[in-house]
Assembly symmetry: C2
Homo-oligomer: 194 residues x 2
């Protein structure tokens, strides 16, 4: 199954263990958020702190596992043509646009897109803490300072995840201009049951 | 009020906005976990991703704010004699000792100490995602690899937080030998209503 996540939108699916989900940058230079939750405990969402601990790195790529808050493997990265992703930033939200950019009116945002799409499967909004930001480029300086850079991903490149257990997974196409070099584009998602 | 958090233990308190909480390393070389939740929404716990975003750094020290999942300021660091803390690692847990160190029996751990002490105030365990690891030294290499080093904190040094709203806050004395250079020691906590 191939679907298009529209620019500034989000979608979610139930994935059986073993299913592969590939996120493809259709036009180039577009980032997105991925959030996975265990189907048997909808409060057991992905955790950057657990994934950093067990993987020994803040940079996840082929072979890396996204672990849950309860230390259960959720998604494994099985192919990655990009190798540049972020797991440090929380998903953009209405509050983020207000605090970080002075927005005064409603803005499409990944947090609402994740919670709305996951909510249709019963996932509480409070489970959505930290997203895996595919193709997002955030440099960490030696003193810890963070800088968001334009993404390096080009049209047709992607990253492929395998479900390590039954999951609910959401994917957004991020509307943050800072992360996308000013553009708002769709992302492609291929779902391939094994 | 001055209390001692026993070695490998944890305690929690309700703090009114403006209250200061100081964590002191009594004997030297001991790390701990701090977890704060908004009193008016016990699902709105601290978020490393929000704090990294608004602070522009993964290294929090004097002046830094610990933000919640909903982007609300919870704690502000108002004094810091150490300047070395970690906000990348999830709290140690029974599963962490099993996966990371091959533990076969029950181990005291920060996650259980946080959830038990916070649970007495009604905080759900699912709220406890990522701790602020005071005095923990985790280096991030340029390629993203993480290395836990012995702490630099010496006896009598501490870090002081101010509650930015009404909170429930827990503090543990971490039992992970890796983070504490093999020792298990208590921590002191001073709570000073303004």
């Amino acid at each position: 199954m191939t679907v298009i996540v529209p620019a500034a939108g989000g979608m979610a699916w139930e994935l059986s263990a073993g299913t592969r989900l590939r996120v493809v940058d259709v036009e180039g230079g577009q980032t997105g958020d991925v959030f996975a939750v265990a189907a048997d405990d909808l409060s057991d969402g992905q955790s950057n702190g657990r994934s950093f601990d067990y993987g020994g790195t803040v940079r996840l790529t082929t072979g890396s596992v996204l672990y849950s808050r309860r230390s259960r493997p959720l998604l494994r990265i099985v192919a990655d043509e990009v190798g540049v992703h972020d797991f440090l930033y929380a998903p953009c939200s209405q509050e983020m646009y207000e605090i970080g950019y002075g927005a005064t009116g409603p803005r499409p945002n990944c947090f609402d897109n994740l919670t709305t799409s996951l909510g249709a499967f019963g996932v509480p909004a409070a489970t959505v803490t930290i997203a895996f930001n595919v193709f997002m480029r955030a440099d960490v300086a030696p003193d810890g300072r963070l800088t968001i850079r334009p993404p390096t991903v080009t049209a047709g490149q992607g990253v492929t995840f395998q479900a390590e257990r039954d999951l609910v997974v959401a994917v957004t196409a991020c509307p943050a201009a800072t992360c996308n070099d000013g553009k708002l584009l769709p992302l492609g998602v291929d779902i391939d049951p094994q």
